[in-house]
Every structure is written in structure tokens, then in C-alpha cells.
């Protein structure tokens, strides 16, 4: 332990000095002078990686003219680069050449350089052609921001880093968002739900500085927070309720989903969260929960199509685990090295299969189509209720042989009803791993043993660089998991905090949250990213603490109002001179509407549910047109969307319209589109029509007799504020037009009121209810309602 800490502090000293050097060049580089200092990572590496390294990079088999441009000494040795002298550098000759034989990149590569890129390369060579190791492969440094305060506000550490960039850009923070906006923003961000009216009143009546922090603490402690955090994890874990592929049978992996919710609820340290999911089965005497956690790596699809070759698909599943693990925890795209050496990142094909070896030793069986339950290995997981039923049966076995036999039967029958969760289990005799030529399952070549890519191997794997631990035991998933959560791992913490940043600000500090490799985007605020990463590690991976730090920053609390100047200078808000404003995610769009209407049913966990869905969608695509979608009745219609049954070959259509993925592969960043199909969902999906009617009932019942007050109630429920006078006027007009219509045709009113399973409030006049339903539908369709701002 002492040795560990000594090593750790040594390592930190080293990386700190390096970091200062890096920070300095960054600051200089961003000053926009004509002779600005070229920054290798930001300016040059992306050009070389994309335009040159395919033939002159790490991939040995495709290397041309024995020239490498990814290693400085070798580029110089071949005179491709003459530091300080672009005119004699062959590289410059070649990129400027018009002769098709010598021109680089050659026309056949179809990746021509533009003039700006050529100029950058020239300048870089003039300035000495310095290379730098890719920032993300160096451990994060600890550094302090240079600015201490700005104008009239006290700035926390996050804000000071942000302010450092402002000084270069000559911009400043936006004013703080008003309190209603702030409460709604932070409530949506931390729970995926809007604040209740009580939350709103309480917050507005407490003007103290500490009020906001109290809100944040309350939200972080809520079950709704845990659900919200788990929801984001489901895309990464490619969680679904069916197998995907041709037959797409139902599976029951939801106990794993509930494990994730519980983990966030208990604020499980993030390192433990990782270790249990990757290697819970290898911990000493694993608990049932720790076994369930490992379903993370069994969430991939499972093909039961008659006639497939099981080994081919087993290899695909292992490859999927490599892809998922590398993307989720390391922010690396390792799958590029499956068929050949990586073209851009220094990961060889051999290293890919060394990483593959960690996941290649599972006792995983091919399941068959008929009567699919789960693919071995799996465990049956009773709910609390089922557990007590089983116990009762047990206790009733009182020795009478006849009774015993029937109880045993009963018990067996009951066990078959318990959800089966596919988990990880190692083979007793390890499976050998080979490099697979072109990634083909039946083309093994060299045998390899488990290890991490050498680019990251300055951090030893269980104190050994490859193959075996010092005691001679082969290294496996547990060692890999421990390596990932080692405080010196350069990527794990950065990738995690960056994703959380994305969930609060809409864009990560590294925009390419799934790619921290050489072709990924450089961080907008490298020091801030490292500050947050080291903060996470130093707090013993305390997720809530880190998130609290972010949402209580002045940066987060800014108004999101976009001025023409900001739009011009920073349209994507990468400099963070304003608060976040963007459309809610698919699940939150629906959950928000259900909550606004008072329809949302809070129940944490359990089997997935089937809310409203247009008839016939499943039968259009299922095998033999079997498998009908059977809508739930009652509670199941109104649960949070993260509990909606996710069929991979036919995912919930309203979720898909709002950019949800089909969950076949791991996804770290959803698109954010704005389409007419979204408008149609919000206007016409029975979910939203019913929600509008229920919101209308609330406005009529609880809003008082004055139209103005009713409208204000609707606004407060939807956007946490009262309607402004001009909005009141427009809403009144909509109301009057609707009333006029429904008065002249009362049947239309009862027709509209009949949408949805919730009974109509008989105490309200039908025409009045329908008219207010039109108003409520308008409110649910406001851009503001479906946006965080």
C-alpha cells in the first residue's frame, strides 16, 4: 500500500510538470496571431492522421516506402521532415507537387489537402516540427486555474478555468439564469423530470444563497435521480428487452437495469460500478447483485437464427464486448484494429486480440430459437415478492412425501417464471486466443495472451506488462477492471466526467465523447477536464459529489439566452459563455409530459412495460408475423420511458423519432435532430393527447375560475413560470377558437376527450374540457416545454 502511494505521488509530480508545459503551449496557440505557435495535437495530428498515416503510419502491412510520419525520428531520418526548414522537407515538396506521380496524398487516396492544411504543415516544420504524445494517453495533470475572480461574482474552480478561456476570447459570463429557469434546468438535468409546483413555490420562497444547494442535494438523493442516471447508461450498455437479430426473442435483463438504478441511488463509487459490471463474477464470493452486474457484458444481441455457425457469432459477441468496453471506459475505437493495425491510433491488430483475450474466456453457449429463455450462463432472479413465495413453499415442505412432491413441482414451475439474467462466467479451462486474420472467426494465426495496448502500458496491468501477473497467474477481466480504475489510468476518469459534462451542457468538453483517440476532437478546456477527472479520482470516485460540483458552478447557472454576438462568435457554446439550451432527450420528452399532466406513475424498477403503440408494427417485421405488441392497461401506460419495452428490431417509434438508438450497439452520443415527425408525435400520439386532457382537467380544477389563472397554472406546470401578457393573449385566442368550434359541434368535444385510457373527469363540462385540452396540447408542444433552457 505504501509502495503504491509512493509510486502514485512520484507519478503525479512528473505529470504535473509536463502538464504545465502543455498548458503554456495551449495558451499561446489559441492567441489568434498570424504567426501563432502551431500546436501538434490540435493543428497537425488530425491532418497527419487522416491524410497521411493510412500509408505512413502505425499499420505496418499497409506502410509505403518504409516511411512513417507518426514517429518524428523516422520522418526526419527519411528527410520527409527537416525541422526548421520547410523548403528542403520532402513532405512539403510532395504536398505542393502537381505531378501525379509524386503528389501527396496521391489522388487515388481521395483525401486531398486544402491550402489551409498545407500552410499549417509548413508553419509546423518552420517552427521545428515538434511532436507531442497524444494528450489523452498521458495521465491527467493537476493544475490550478490562473484567474481568481471576475467582476462581481465569486467563481468556483470550474468557472475559473472557463474564465481563463474568456480572457483570450474577450468574452464574459452571461448573467445568472432566473430562479424559475434554474430550478427547472437542474431538476430536468438531475432527475429527467420537471419540478413540481411545490418544489417551485418552496424554492421561490427561500431567497437564501443556500437554497439552490439544498435543491441540488434533495434532487441527488431522490430515486428519480438514480433513474435518470441509469437511463443514460442504457445506451452505452446497449440494453434491450429482446435479442435483436432475425428472431429477436424476448429476454429478461431488467434486473441488471435495476441494479444500475440502485447503484446510482446508493452513490456507488464509480470505480466499484465499473469493476462489478466488468468482473463482478471474479470477486471473492460474489453476491447475487455482483453477478447481476456482469450482465453489462451480456447485453449484446444474441442470434438464434437456424443455420448460423455458433463460433462466428461468439466471436462477434466478444468483439462487441471489446468495442463496448473500449468506448464506454476508454473513449477509444478499438474495433478499427480488428482486421488490421489501427490507421490512426497506435493500436496494433495484435494488441486488439490481446484485449479481446480478456473477454474470450466466457463459458458462453449458443441458445436455440425454440423456447428461448436465455443463453447460458444465466441466473434466475426472483423479485422480493417471488422470493418470499419461494420461501413459503420451502417452509411448507413438511416431510409428507405426497405433499412434498407436489410442492416441489410447484416450486419448479415457479422457478421457470423467474426472470433469467445472462451473466459472466469463466471457462474452467481457458480458451486460447489468436489473432484472427481480417477479423474472421475461422482464420486464427498467432496466439496471444491478455494485455492492454502498449500505448497505455506505462500503467502496468497488475504490475506486469502482459500475459501473466507476478505470481504467474494469467491476467483476466478482474485485472483489467482494476487497471481501468487505477488512479493513474489516463482515460477512465476523463471519459466519465466528460460524459457527465455532456449530459449537463449538451456537448462534452471533448465533443467526441466516444473518441479520445488521435482523430477525436481536442478538449475545449483541457485543464478543466483534467481538474474534474482528478477531482473524481481524489473523491474516491464519488459521482454525486462531482455532479454537484458541476451543477453548482456559475458556468452551469448562467442564463442560456443567446445574443446575436454569441451566436456569431460561439454558436455551439463551446466557450461556455452561456447556459445550456437544447431539446430534451426522447425519454425525457415523454416523461416530462406525463409528469406535467400528473399521469406519471412512480415505481422504481421491475419488468419492462408496454405503453401506447400503434397496432401492427411488430407483426410487420416479426418472424412468421408472430409476436403481437400487447399494450398494458393501467400503470404500465404511464411509467417512465426507461421502462418501456425495447424491441431491437422494432423499437418504440416515438422514441426513435426523437433520436433514440435501436440499442444494437453501444452509443455514447445521440444526435439531436429537429423534424416534422417529432411534431406529429407531440400533436397526435395518444400519449400526448391524453396528457393534454389531463393537464386541461388540472387547469380547470385547480386553476380557479379566472382564465388567466388557469393559463398561468398550465404554464407553471409546463415551464415553471407564469404566462407573460402577450402569451396570455395568444392562449386566450386559441381557447376561444376551440370553444367556438366545440360549442357548434359537441360531438367533436366528446371525441377528443375520449382519447386515452384515463377516465374523463365527469365533473367538467365536455366542451370546456375539450377546449382546454387544445390549450394544454399547445402548451405541451411549446419549444420551451420540450427544451431545457
Amino acid at each position: 500500500m505504501n509502495l503504491f502511494h509512493a509510486m502514485k505521488s512520484l507519478f503525479m509530480c512528473w505529470s504535473m510538470s509536463l502538464f504545465h508545459a502543455f498548458a503554456l503551449t495551449t495558451n499561446l496557440a489559441t492567441a489568434q496571431s498570424p504567426d501563432r505557435q502551431i500546436d501538434f495535437a490540435r493543428d497537425i495530428q488530425p491532418i497527419l492522421a487522416i491524410h497521411c498515416w493510412s500509408c505512413h503510419g502505425p499499420d505496418e502491412t499497409s506502410r509505403q516506402a518504409e516511411l512513417r510520419l507518426d514517429v518524428r525520428d523516422q520522418a526526419i531520418a527519411k528527410s520527409a521532415i527537416v525541422p526548421g526548414d520547410d523548403s528542403t522537407s520532402e513532405l512539403i515538396h510532395r504536398i505542393d507537387s502537381t505531378d501525379t506521380d509524386s503528389k501527396m496524398p496521391p489522388d487515388t487516396s481521395k483525401k486531398p489537402l486544402n491550402e489551409k492544411q498545407k500552410e499549417l504543415l509548413r508553419k509546423w516544420i518552420q517552427q521545428g516540427a515538434t511532436y507531442a504524445k497524444h494528450w489523452a494517453f498521458e495521465a491527467p495533470g493537476r493544475t490550478a486555474p490562473s484567474s481568481q475572480s471576475s467582476s462581481d461574482r465569486s467563481l468556483g474552480p470550474i468557472d475559473q478555468f472557463v474564465n481563463d478561456r474568456f480572457k483570450q476570447m474577450q468574452i464574459d459570463f452571461s448573467p445568472r439564469a432566473d430562479r424559475e429557469t434554474l430550478l427547472r434546468r437542474v431538476t430536468l438535468d438531475l432527475t429527467g423530470l420537471p419540478p413540481t409546483l411545490e418544489d417551485l413555490n418552496q424554492f421561490l420562497s427561500d431567497p437564501s444563497e443556500a437554497a439552490y444547494e439544498r435543491v441540488v442535494d434533495r434532487l441527488l438523493a431522490s430515486e428519480r435521480y438514480a433513474e435518470r442516471m441509469a437511463m443514460a447508461w442504457l445506451d452505452l450498455a446497449r440494453y434491450a428487452d429482446t435479442n435483436g437479430y432475425n428472431n429477436d426473442e424476448e429476454r429478461t435483463m431488467w434486473p441488471w437495469r435495476d441494479w444500475v438504478i440502485n447503484a446510482f441511488h446508493r452513490n456507488m463509487p464509480y470505480d466499484q460500478f465499473i469493476v462489478e459490471q466488468l468482473a463482478g463474477d471474479l470477486l471473492p464470493n460474489p453476491s447475487r447483485d455482483q453477478l447481476i452486474a456482469t450482465a453489462f457484458l451480456r447485453n449484446q444481441g444474441h442470434n438464434t437464427e437456424g443455420g448460423i455457425i455458433p463460433e462466428e457469432y461468439r466471436v462477434e459477441y466478444v468483439a462487441d464486448r471489446v468495442h463496448t468496453t473500449a468506448t464506454v471506459f476508454l473513449g477509444l475505437s478499438m474495433q478499427c484494429a480488428r482486421c488490421h493495425d489501427h490507421k490512426f491510433d497506435p493500436i496494433t491488430q495484435t494488441e486488439y486480440y490481446q484485449f479481446f483475450a480478456f473477454f474470450n474466456n466466457l463459458d458462453e453457449k449458443q441458445a436455440s430459437y425454440s423456447k428461448f429463455v436465455a443463453a447460458e450462463p444465466f441466473i434466475r432472479v426472483p423479485s422480493a415478492e417471488q422470493e418470499s413465495q419461494l420461501k413459503n413453499l420451502e417452509s411448507e415442505m413438511d416431510g409428507l412425501p405426497e405433499k412434498e412432491a407436489s410442492k416441489k413441482k410447484e416450486r419448479e414451475a415457479m422457478e421457470l417464471l423467474l426472470p433469467a439474467v445472462m451473466i459472466l462466467r469463466e471457462l474452467a479451462t481457458p480458451r486460447e486466443t489468436f489473432v484472427l486474420k481480417r477479423g474472421q472467426y475461422d482464420q486464427p494465426s498467432m496466439r496471444v495472451s491478455a494485455s492492454v495496448p502498449s500505448i497505455l502500458s506505462q500503467l502496468p496491468l497488475n504490475n506486469s506488462t502482459a500475459g501473466n501477473s507476478p505470481t504467474g497467474e494469467p491476467v483476466g477481466r478482474l485485472e483489467l477492471a482494476m487497471w481501468l480504475v487505477d488512479s493513474r489510468n489516463p482515460l477512465t476518469a476523463r471519459v466519465a466526467v466528460n460524459r457527465w459534462w455532456q449530459s449537463f451542457f449538451g456537448t462534452g468538453l471533448v465533443k467526441t465523447v466516444e473518441d479520445f483517440g488521435t482523430t477525436g476532437e481536442s478538449p475545449s478546456h483541457p485543464e478543466l477536464l483534467d481538474y474534474l477527472a482528478t477531482k473524481l479520482i481524489d473523491s474516491h470516485w464519488n459521482v454525486k459529489e462531482l455532479q454537484k460540483l458541476i451543477v453548482t458552478s456559475a458556468t452551469y447557472m448562467q442564463s442560456s439566452r443567446l445574443t446575436p454576438e454569441l451566436l456569431e462568435r460561439d454558436p455551439e457554446n463551446r466557450m461556455l459563455a452561456r447556459g445550456p439550451r437544447y431539446r430534451l432527450e426522447a425519454e425525457t420528452v415523454r416523461d416530462n409530459a406525463l409528469a406535467i399532466a400528473g399521469l406519471l406513475q412512480h415505481r422504481m424498477g421491475g419488468p419492462s412495460v408496454k405503453p401506447y403503440q400503434p397496432a401492427g408494427l411488430w407483426e410487420d417485421v416479426t418472424v412468421e408475423r408472430k409476436g403481437k405488441y400487447k399494450e398494458d392497461t393501467g400503470e404500465g401506460l404511464y411509467r417512465r420511458s426507461m421502462y418501456t419495452f425495447w424491441k431491437r428490431t422494432c423499437p418504440p417509434p416515438s422514441m426513435m423519432s426523437f433520436d433514440a438508438p435501436n440499442r444494437e450497439v453501444c452509443l455514447a452520443r445521440r444526435a439531436r435532430t429537429n423534424t416534422p415527425l417529432q411534431s406529429l408525435v407531440l400533436l397526435n400520439d395518444p400519449t400526448y393527447v391524453e396528457a393534454a386532457r389531463l393537464l386541461a382537467s388540472l387547469m380547470i380544477r385547480d386553476g380557479g375560475s379566472e382564465t388567466k389563472d388557469r393559463i398561468n397554472l398550465g404554464y407553471r406546470r409546463c415551464v415553471s413560470r407564469n404566462a407573460r401578457p402577450d402569451e396570455q393573449k395568444i392562449i386566450r385566442l386559441i381557447l376561444e377558437q376551440a370553444q367556438e368550434r366545440f360549442l357548434s359541434n359537441a360531438k367533436q368535444a366528446t371525441d377528443l376527450n375520449s382519447t386515452g385510457a384515463t377516465p374523463v373527469d365527469g365533473a367538467i363540462d365536455s366542451v370546456e374540457l375539450a377546449s382546454w385540452t387544445i390549450v394544454a396540447s399547445t402548451l405541451l408542444n411549446l419549444d420551451e416545454t420540450i427544451s431545457k433552457r
Partner: protein, 481 residues
């Protein structure tokens, strides 16, 4: 709306679009016209103007799901009757991997097709008696008998054909085209999918969302399913009790409210959303107009067949496809299920053929008559072919297993060579003996017709520039006019 979308908003929006991925069906065209937007910068080299002059502007892909038998339809093998019942020689099978459904078979008896073949048209193309209408337009068709794929099971094979990869995760062909070309239509999606169910079997293989999914492309490029029935696009219809007039008034109010919010928040995305509601409103009119076949003259149904009056049938979908391309939809994809004839092939394949034959020939004819065939590429085929040997023991009502080594497709219009007969298979219809065309080659050629260099239509994801053709594919000049 012009009063609401004032000049200020438009300026805002334009500026915003340069920087952000704000896709939408109509805006995708705008995005693509703008080199500096985030989407477009990834696709800068994929601008139609930057590549080749496009011959095709749109595609109709008549996908025959399940793997139609080349041996009963277009790949005439005169020696098969004399080989009927004999064992498939090892010299032909060459250790070829077969699916788990027949790998346990001890014997692989050759099954000769039970249908008559004749030559047709100037080109002399052979067609079986099952496709009399298609045979009649053979001189319009570019017939390929030498398609091949590595995949031998449905899921990987169909995924390969639609996405260029056997494994999940890539964008579908239609999504690539939506991304590359945008939409021609003001009020219809760029990429439409329609599914019909064959009469020949009970659709015993699944279809998958990924076949029309957007993969890692922005999700507005995913295919929009058109279904039979009144809600032909999901959630298209206003709820009962809301008439068009009331909806219009509500949307007017909504637009004003959203505009006020834009003035408050300054976010040009709000102006885009106002436009999306307008487009949704227009779609509510344009889609029913599109799907309403009642204004088609009786001569249309003489051409396509009376089946075209049955909503959701392949024939109706063919007619819909014509109406869609007339209105500017870029990529119309039909899926006709039921070609997976593992057994009772002679009983079932004629029914499948009756589903499709007249209507698909009519579609080509109709497009030609309307002057649309020149720039509309029609594609017909499945995910693989079927084995010459019988699945199980040889019976009168034999079945055939999957076969990837050769299968047949045809194309028409859009710059493809009419009357061309491409490729040849051996006497068993098992191996290709000349002019093999791989799926990647088909994709490369298709993109070429649409004006794209398949190596330059790329999208960067996780550090890699992905293509529909992965790292493969060659344009096949013999397919081109």
C-alpha cells in the same frame, strides 16, 4: 408564416445552420447546399457537384426478402433436368460452407426447376413462365446473374445488402442517400419504406429496424415507414375531434408563442421548430393526397393489376412508389416478404411471383411512359439466392436452402444499361463462371449512378471515415449505359 419568420429569424437560422446538425427532411437540402455546416463539412467531398454528373436522381428498391430462387426465375440452366436427382459433385461444391439447416445432410441431390423457360426480347434473356410480365420488359432491364455474397443466413445477409456490413451498427443505404442527397420534396421524407407480406409463405424470417436505420448518421436520415391504412405515416392523423381548421388555428397560436420565445431566448433552433410544425401540417395534407389512389384512372389498375387496389399489397406499394418518386422522394424501398422457400418451393414460389410480377413490370413501364425512368433507378432482388440441391430428401415439392455464391438481380433506368445480360453461372447454377458482382460492387455502382464516388461519400464516426462500401467496392461499367 412569413410574418413570423421575419428576416431576423432567417438570418439567425442561416447562421446557425452553418454550425450545427439541425437536420430535417426539407432542411437537409439546405444543409447540403451549405459546405460549412457540421454535417456538410463531413460530407464536403460528397457534394453531388464535387463528384460526377448524376444519372439517377432517385431509387426504387424492390427488395425480395427471404432469398428468391434464381433457378426458378432468371438463371436458366438447361442441363439441370438431366442432372435431376444426381448428387451435387464435390468439384462444384468445393467444400462450400452451407447453413446449419443442411450441413447435416448426407446427400445433396440436385433439384431441377419444374418450370418452363423461354427467351425474351432483343437481348434474348431467359425467364421462367412464372414471370411473364417481367419477361416482357426484359429489354428495359439490366439483368445480373452473377451477384454473390459471403453471408448465408438471413440476418447477416440482409444486413449486408442494406448496410454494406454483415453486423449491426452501420447506416442503411437509404440513410446514406438521404444524407448525401437530401430531399427533393418539400413535404415528404427523403427515404420511405413499405412492407408487404407474400402469399407464398408466412414470412418466416424477420425484418429489422436497422435495415432502414440511420446507424451513426443523424437520425433524421432513418427511413420513414409508410403503412396501409389511414395513419399511413405514424401519428399523421389529428386526434378524433380535431379538424383541420382547428388544428390550423392552434398551430398559428403555437407558432406565435414559439416566436415570442425565440425573441426571448435568441435560439435559432426555435425558428427551425416552427418550420417543422409547418411541414408536419403540410405532410398531413400531402401524405393522404399521395396515398389516395382513388384519382388514379382505371388504366392504372389495368397496368398494375387489380391487386393494386388492395392497400398494403406489393402491387399497391409499387404504384405508391411511382407516386412518391413523382413527388420527389429520393429512396423508396419496398420489402416483399415470403421468398424463403426451404420447402414446398414449387407450390409457393408461383404465388410469390403472382404477387410481384405484373406490378413490378408495370412500375418500370409506367416510369418510362412518364419520362421518369431515365433518372429513376429501379432495383430488384433479395439478400442471396437458393441452393441447386434440395433441402432434405428430394421430393416433388422440394425446397432449397440459402445460397450466397450466386444469385440474380435486375435493374432498370437511372443510368443502367438496358437489355444487358451480366454474368454467368456454371451448369448447376452454383458457382459464378464470369463477371462476378459483389454487394460492395453493386453499392459502388449504385452510388456512381447517383453521382457519388463511393470512396468519397463518407461520415466520420469514432475517428474513422465510414463508407457504405466499407473499404471495398468497384464501379462496374458493364452495368452502366
Amino acid at each position: 408564416m412569413q410574418t413570423i419568420l421575419d428576416e431576423r429569424n432567417r438570418l439567425f437560422r442561416r447562421q446557425f445552420l452553418r454550425q450545427s446538425v439541425t437536420g430535417s427532411v426539407a432542411l437537409s437540402a439546405l444543409l447540403n447546399a451549405d459546405n460549412t455546416s457540421a454535417v456538410a463539412s463531413a460530407v464536403t467531398s460528397a457534394q453531388p457537384t464535387a463528384h460526377l454528373a448524376p444519372k439517377a436522381k432517385r431509387v426504387i428498391y424492390l427488395f425480395q426478402s427471404g432469398g428468391p430462387s434464381q433457378l426458378e426465375l432468371m438463371d436458366y440452366k438447361p442441363k439441370l433436368p438431366s442432372l435431376h436427382g444426381t448428387e451435387l459433385p464435390d468439384s462444384i461444391r468445393q467444400g462450400q460452407r452451407v447453413t446449419g439447416m443442411t450441413s447435416g445432410q448426407k446427400s445433396f441431390p440436385v433439384a431441377a426447376p419444374r418450370f418452363r423457360f423461354e427467351q425474351h426480347g432483343q437481348s434474348g434473356a431467359w425467364f421462367s413462365e412464372l414471370l411473364p410480365f417481367t419477361a416482357k420488359i426484359s429489354d428495359q432491364l439490366c439483368i445480373v446473374r452473377s451477384m454473390h455474397t459471403e453471408a448465408i443466413n438471413h440476418d447477416p445477409a440482409i444486413t449486408f445488402m442494406q448496410t454494406g456490413s454483415q453486423q449491426p451498427g452501420r447506416p442503411s443505404m437509404g440513410a446514406w442517400l438521404s444524407y448525401g442527397l437530401g430531399s427533393e420534396a418539400e413535404d415528404l421524407p427523403a427515404f420511405v419504406v413499405m412492407i408487404s407480406h407474400g402469399s407464398g409463405s408466412d414470412s418466416n424470417q424477420g425484418l429489422l429496424d436497422r435495415l432502414w436505420g440511420s446507424g451513426f448518421l443523424p437520425s433524421n436520415h432513418q427511413g420513414v415507414k409508410f403503412r396501409s391504412g389511414s395513419d399511413s405515416v405514424l401519428y399523421l392523423n389529428d386526434p378524433s375531434g380535431v379538424d383541420r381548421n382547428l388544428r390550423r388555428k392552434m398551430l398559428d397560436g403555437l407558432a406565435k408563442l414559439n416566436d415570442l420565445q425565440q425573441q426571448q431566448d435568441g435560439d435559432p433552433e426555435i425558428a427551425t421548430r416552427i418550420e417543422q410544425y409547418e411541414m408536419a401540417f403540410r405532410m398531413q395534407a400531402s401524405v393522404p393526397e399521395l396515398t389516395d389512389l382513388s384519382n388514379e384512372p382505371e388504366s392504372t389498375f389495368d397496368l398494375y393489376g387489380q391487386q393494386a387496389k388492395t392497400a398494403g399489397s406489393y402491387a399497391a406499394n409499387c404504384l405508391m412508389a411511382r407516386r412518391m418518386v413523382e413527388r420527389g422522394v429520393r429512396f423508396v424501398q419496398l420489402y416483399h416478404r415470403g421468398w424463403d422457400n426451404h420447402g414446398k418451393l414449387p407450390t409457393n414460389i408461383p404465388k410469390q411471383c403472382r404477387d410481384v410480377d405484373q406490378a413490378q413490370a408495370a412500375l418500370v413501364t409506367d416510369l418510362k411512359q412518364r419520362g421518369l425512368l431515365d433518372d429513376t433507378l429501379v432495383l430488384w432482388g433479395g439478400e442471396f439466392g437458393r441452393s441447386v440441391y434440395s433441402q432434405g430428401s428430394l421430393q416433388d415439392d422440394y425446397g432449397r436452402d440459402h445460397h450466397g455464391r450466386c444469385f440474380s438481380m435486375w435493374m432498370a433506368g437511372g443510368g443502367t444499361r438496358p437489355g444487358a445480360l451480366i454474368g454467368e453461372t456454371d451448369d448447376y447454377g452454383y458457382n459464378i463462371v464470369s463477371d462476378p458482382i459483389h454487394i460492395h460492387d453493386l453499392h459502388a455502382t449504385l452510388l456512381n449512378c447517383l453521382g457519388f464516388d463511393h470512396e468519397r461519400l463518407t461520415f466520420r464516426y469514432q475517428g474513422r471515415d465510414f463508407r457504405l462500401t466499407d473499404v471495398h467496392g468497384r464501379v462496374m461499367p458493364q452495368l452502366l449505359a
